[in-house]
């Protein structure tokens, strides 16, 4: 893999910044979903994004790894563009293959898990490291087994996804993202599709990742998780960041009336 160029200096960003979003705009046709969103996530920290449905928080998350193309603003992941190559003052659009290469460093966990149903759990974890990073199969397998132990599913290595509960599937999906050694992990409402009694096991895994210092951006409805784990809480509504800051302070003393109203409804 080519050494990634980092443009931290050229944009005046601290070299420890993992995700730098400035004035992100995104529209679908005439509907503007993101109206200038700012977010800075330092390396090793956890940012939780909360907000009512339709506030643009999932769209914003998908802009970070260029699943959605932005219409305006500056989005840098570890000081580089995901979908473009910077040359002088010009951004050259990259080919889908080149974008995928850069996305390999950005893990993503989906609301609907999106495990590969025709592969066993172990095959799900080994596929990308072997085919994308060209790791030897034995090495990738050993790492996959280690990751499965970490999420408490070592005995399920030969099961197919549909034989697992939702919570187990989501833990496998997290392990699959970790198998690529990502620089940052994005979570798109990882517990929203789960039965209430299965939410806890997924949150436990995510808490342990946060303790290990993995950089995470989490779109979630779990205020309790955000309060306990997040270094930074972001409240989005109507395509803008209404308020952000220390989660405990923000939950105890929301400054904006919209935040106060939202928290009153979900707490």
């Amino acid at each position: 893999m080519t050494a990634p160029h980092t443009h931290h200096d050229r944009f005046g960003i601290a070299s420890t910044t993992m995700v730098h979003a400035k004035g992100i705009r995104k529209s679908y046709g005439h509907l503007e979903v993101l109206k200038g969103v700012d977010l800075t996530v330092p390396s090793g920290s956890v940012a939780c994004i909360i907000g009512p449905s339709g506030s643009g928080k999932s769209t914003f998350l998908r802009c970070i790894n260029h699943l959605e193309e932005i219409n305006g603003g500056l989005m840098l992941v570890d000081g580089d563009f995901v979908g473009y190559r910077l040359d002088g003052n010009k951004l050259y659009e990259l080919s889908p293959n080149a974008i995928c290469q850069r996305r390999a460093d950005i893990g993503m966990v989906f609301q609907q898990f999106n495990l590969f149903p025709h592969m066993t759990v172990l095959e799900n974890l080994v596929e990308a490291p072997v085919r994308v990073k060209r790791e030897p199969v034995a090495q990738a397998t050993a790492k996959a087994i280690e990751l499965l132990q970490r999420v408490g599913l070592a005995e399920k290595r030969d099961a197919y996804p549909r034989q697992l509960s939702g919570g187990q599937q989501q833990r496998v999906a997290i392990a699959r993202a970790l198998a690529m050694n990502p620089k940052v992990l994005l979570f798109d409402e990882p517990t929203s599709a789960l039965d209430p009694e299965l939410v806890g096991e997924v949150l436990e895994v995510m808490k342990s990742l946060a303790r290990e210092g993995i950089t995470m951006v989490v779109v979630t409805h779990e205020i309790g998780f955000a309060r306990e784990v997040a270094d930074q809480l972001v409240f989005m509504d109507g395509g803008v960041v209404v308020e952000s800051g220390n989660p405990r302070e923000m939950i105890a003393n929301p400054k904006s009336p919209r935040t106060r109203e939202f928290l009153a409804r979900v707490l």
Binding site: C100, Q101, R103, A104, I106, L115, F116, R131, R176
Partner: protein, 312 residues
Amino acid sequence: MTGNQPPGPVGKIDPEKLTIVPLRHPWRWVAVALVLVSVAAMVRSAISNPEFQWPIVAQHLFNPLILNGLWQTILITVVVMILATLGGTIAALMMLSPSKLLSVPAAVFVWFFRGTPALVQLIIWYNLSIVVKDFTLWLPGLGTLYSVSTNDVMTPVVSAIVALSLHESGYMAEIVRSGLRSVNKGQYEASACLGMKPSLALRRIVLPQAMRMIIPPTGNETINLLKTTSLVSIIAVGDLLYSAQSIYARTFETIPLLLVVSFWYLAVVSIMSVGQFYLERNFSRDEHRSNPGITKAILGNLTKIGRKEALA
């Protein structure tokens, strides 16, 4: 429920002793009887009617001319199916392309070759030399590099393969397209987020899942095609039907030879169905905990009469 049952002590039922009386299906047995009678009548007529000339059927079953025709039929089917799968997949990928410059020509291709009868296409390709006299490779500055007469290239077999491949490609394109569209969008996104290139994701993630939707109709198409190849007999390709026709044109043993032909078509279709069964099973490994063999699967269906299927 009738009144003449001995009245038991009211409210004194032992739940352990309750039994369920299954619902009877008397009309189902009437239908079975009717079917059996008609089958018996047909078998009897087939055996006793001398016009079927069974000894002649047996005599021609392994006639070298017939076997050669069978070989031609199988060969054309296999070659056409391979070409049609390739052509159909390319057309399907083009139809799914966001670029109109690719999707519209592919749609027109499918519209044309699916919309005209196979027989008509067959005759057109066979008579191509009326329109195109020669195939010529001509490059500016270099002149004619290579030229060959159309009649030398478009032999009956080649015309048959070209015509049927194009016709079948139209159908395969639709089958592959619907198979690819059946795969959840999340699968594309998950592979992209793991750094998989679109071509790798297609090969390793999307196609294996699409195969489940693609194989059953493709099996049907192959069986259909095997029988459609009998059309090539009209442009004098020595297939199974043509070989039989050439025999009964001399001997007038029309029905026995057509029975021979039917026997071989049925034999090949049966073998293909077994192959399709195992292919389908291979691509849905994750759906079955225990995979029954083919005999068990068929017998299991036959014995289902009179019983409700238990949902596993």
